[in-house]
């Protein structure tokens, strides 16, 4: 609790011609009078320790001592936590402005005696951007990590430069970030845009954005100013789609570690290389998401599979349990995303309601096709998982732990049949010893390859 001396001062808040003097508690301000000024309802649930704020269609929940705010069902992380106070709860003006007023459609504007609450969203708030680049043989992946979610698009401007333009934020580059790339020379900010300066003949191949943390990912590579058009009679010579193998973990992320020091990072790479050999011997194209000890973001692994339009995506892992007795292999595929399906259904219903039965037919069709495509990929993933797990079961001394569904990050967003194989438990000393042997790694690779091959031949 704060001292009485700190409570002496007040801050004036004005809204719609009315004003209220709000007690200042140290560096924080009583929240309730501010919310009351705009007409927002606020209730404290003593059982939950949570404040529930309602205004129009919006509902916010926050808890003193915590930086999270639940805004209309979405969690938002803030830079500060409100604290208990004599008036209930006090918070910094930044918290009141960004975490409470902004979601309700208000913003704070400083005035000499305090603040004026204005209606409307805040534009041009800075967003801190940390650029990082990874060079590969033919392409460079440029990742722009944002300190908060912000809408942006990547495009080529009128003078041929690559720019990332933000809709409602001013990008500021993190001064501590260092960029090392042979294809990206510099990243600079200019108003609401970032300018990407590249080496000659390097251009934007593709881009997409990701959440958690919010990122914009740009694929850069060699482009030719005037590509020679193919003659109309030229046959289509697209090569076969590869099988993408993802050795789990990497870099500092070792994953599970056995008592003898065998890491999941190294084991999955060893099995992945052997699996690649087995599949190539069966005539398949193969690509690994990593072919060394370095790490890769989970979402980037699936993105690689999507970009090369892989036939199959297989992520390899090794397991660990608190019980050293647990052993055996497991194969997972993505669980049906009920939430996404619900959201799609809700969006469809909303379209129909809004249009009074005359919803945009194209949007309806897109949603239905999207749903069908998801279901189809899921069904194929289940078949692939069963094919692989059946072969793994045939290996001696491996107990069948079955095929299961779970929302694994690395399988999220895959547009092809995708599975995650746990080859065994490193926490089981006997199994870890066997997993360390080249013979068993080869046997595992052979079994997984047989399953993939059988799946692809039956398609």
């Amino acid at each position: 609790m704060l001292s009485a001396q700190e409570m002496m001062r007040t801050v004036e808040f004005q809204y719609a011609g009315r004003g209220v003097s709000v007690p200042r508690i140290g560096s924080r301000i009583e929240v309730m009078p501010v919310l009351a000024l705009i007409g927002a309802g606020a209730e404290y649930s003593r059982a939950a320790g949570t404040y529930v704020v309602t205004y129009g269609e919006h509902t916010l929940q926050f808890t003193p001592g915590h930086r999270l705010v639940l805004v209309d069902g979405e969690l938002h992380d803030t830079n500060d936590a409100p604290v208990p106070s004599p008036g209930g709860v006090a918070a910094s003006t930044e918290f009141i402005d960004r975490a409470l007023l902004a979601p309700l459609g208000f913003r704070l504007e400083p005035i000499p005696q305090g603040y004026r609450i204005a209606v409307g969203a805040r534009f041009d708030d800075p967003v801190i951007v940390r650029p990082a680049a990874a060079d590969f043989d033919a392409t460079t992946t440029l990742v722009l990590t944002l300190d908060r979610a912000a809408e942006a698009i990547a495009e080529i401007n009128e003078v041929g430069e690559i720019t990332v333009v933000f809709a409602d934020a001013s990008p500021r580059l993190d001064p501590s970030s260092r960029l090392k790339s042979t294809r990206v020379r510099a990243v600079s900010s200019n108003g609401r845009a970032l300018l990407i300066t590249t080496a000659p003949n390097v251009g934007l191949l593709d881009w997409h954005s990701l959440d958690g943390p919010p990122r914009i990912i740009l694929e850069l590579g060699r482009v030719f100013p005037t590509p020679t058009p193919a003659p109309e009679y030229a046959p289509v010579t697209a090569g076969p789609s590869p099988i993408v193998i993802d050795p789990g973990h990497g870099g500092k992320d070792t994953g599970a570690v056995s008592d003898s020091g065998l890491t999941e990072r190294d084991l999955t790479l060893a099995v992945a290389r052997r699996l690649a050999g087995e599949l190539r011997a069966r005539g398949h194209q193969v690509r690994l998401t990593r072919d060394n000890g370095e790490g890769r973001a989970l979402t980037d692994r699936t993105a690689i599979a999507n970009r090369v339009e892989a036939e199959v995506f297989v992520s390899l892992h090794a397991n660990a349990s608190n019980f050293s007795s647990v052993k055996g292999s497991e194969t997972y595929y993505m669980s049906l995303d009920d939430q996404a399906t619900d959201e799609a259904s809700a969006a469809l219903a909303e379209l129909e309601n809004e249009a009074g039965g005359e919803a945009d037919e194209r949007s309806d069709l897109d949603l239905i096709l999207w749903d069908l495509a998801q279901a189809s990929v899921l069904n194929e993933s289940a078949v692939l998982a069963l094919e692989v797990q059946t072969r793994l079961n045939a290996l001696s001394n491996i107990r069948d732990r079955g095929v299961k569904q779970a929302p694994f990050v690395v399988l999220t967003g895959a547009t092809m049949p995708a599975i995650l194989v746990e080859v065994g438990f490193l926490s089981n000393p006997a199994e870890a010893k066997r997993l360390a042997t080249p013979e068993h790694q080869q046997a595992l690779a052979g079994a997984i390859a047989q399953g993939i091959d059988a799946f692809l031949r039956a398609r």
């Binding site: 649930s45 059982a47 939950a48 320790g49 949570t50 509902t59 929940q61 808890t63 001592g65 915590h66 930086r67 999270l68 639940l70 209309d72 069902g73 969690l75 992380d77 936590a81 959440d211 958690g212 789990g248 973990h249 992320d253 070792t254 994953g255 599970a256 570690v257 999941e264 989970l298 892992h317 397991n319 660990a320 349990s321 608190n322 019980f323 007795s325 647990v326 669980s335 009920d338 939430q339 732990r401 299961k404 569904q405 779970a406 929302p407 694994f408 990050v409 690395v410 999220t412 995650l420 746990e422 438990f425 490193l426 926490s427």
Partner: protein, 185 residues
């Protein structure tokens, strides 16, 4: 005579003064002077005990149910708090806790769609293994959803933060639904 009356009156006055001092003097604690706090709360009615199913890790690497009688409030926030508290206390028998570190429940949020958000203490050091992550997530999520029928999903937060994943496997960035695949049959 006048002097006797005066002495009697004086003695009576002294006795009265002594009595008053004994009852109201500073040396005697006075119950009537205790000031009740302004915001004194009425004693809450204890929640009725109910049999709940809690899930803990078993030696086969799956979740096993443990039945326990606990006071279970009706209000959903309190109900979630009660269930999570019991899961964090751990199993009574041979099973193992699903949260393999000493964790506390920091906060509970519930949105209008039936999604609960529980914030627990983050692990003191990195945790590895998808099985550990799966049993932690579904041990908590399934225990809550099996005992709180008004909820449809649960998201686990660590140290006041959303996390994309705990060990690099399971997607914890969104609420999880009931998944009985990891409950021993």
């Amino acid at each position: 005579m006048t002097r006797r009356v005066f002495l009697i009156i004086a003695a009576a006055a002294v006795v009265l003064a002594v009595l008053l001092w004994l009852f109201f003097g500073p040396g005697r604690p006075s119950v009537s002077r205790t000031v009740a706090p302004v915001d004194v709360l009425p004693t809450p009615t204890p929640a009725p005990e109910q049999r709940v199913m809690l899930l803990f890790a078993g030696p086969d690497g799956l979740l096993h149910p443990e039945l326990r009688n606990v006071p279970l409030p009706v209000e959903v926030h309190e109900r979630v708090r009660a269930i999570v508290a019991e899961v964090l206390i751990g199993p009574a028998g041979e099973l193992q806790p699903v949260v393999p570190w000493e964790a506390e429940l920091n906060a509970v949020f519930v949105d209008g769609e039936g999604a609960a958000f529980i914030d627990i203490t983050p692990p003191p050091e990195p945790v590895n293994g998808s099985r550990i992550e799966l049993l932690l997530a579904y041990g908590l999520v399934d225990s809550i959803l099996l005992n709180c029928p008004s909820l449809t999903s649960v998201q686990i937060l660590f140290g006041g933060h959303e996390v994309p994943t705990l060990t690099g496997h399971l997607d914890l960035s969104r609420p999880l639904r009931l998944n009985k695949a990891f409950i021993s049959s």
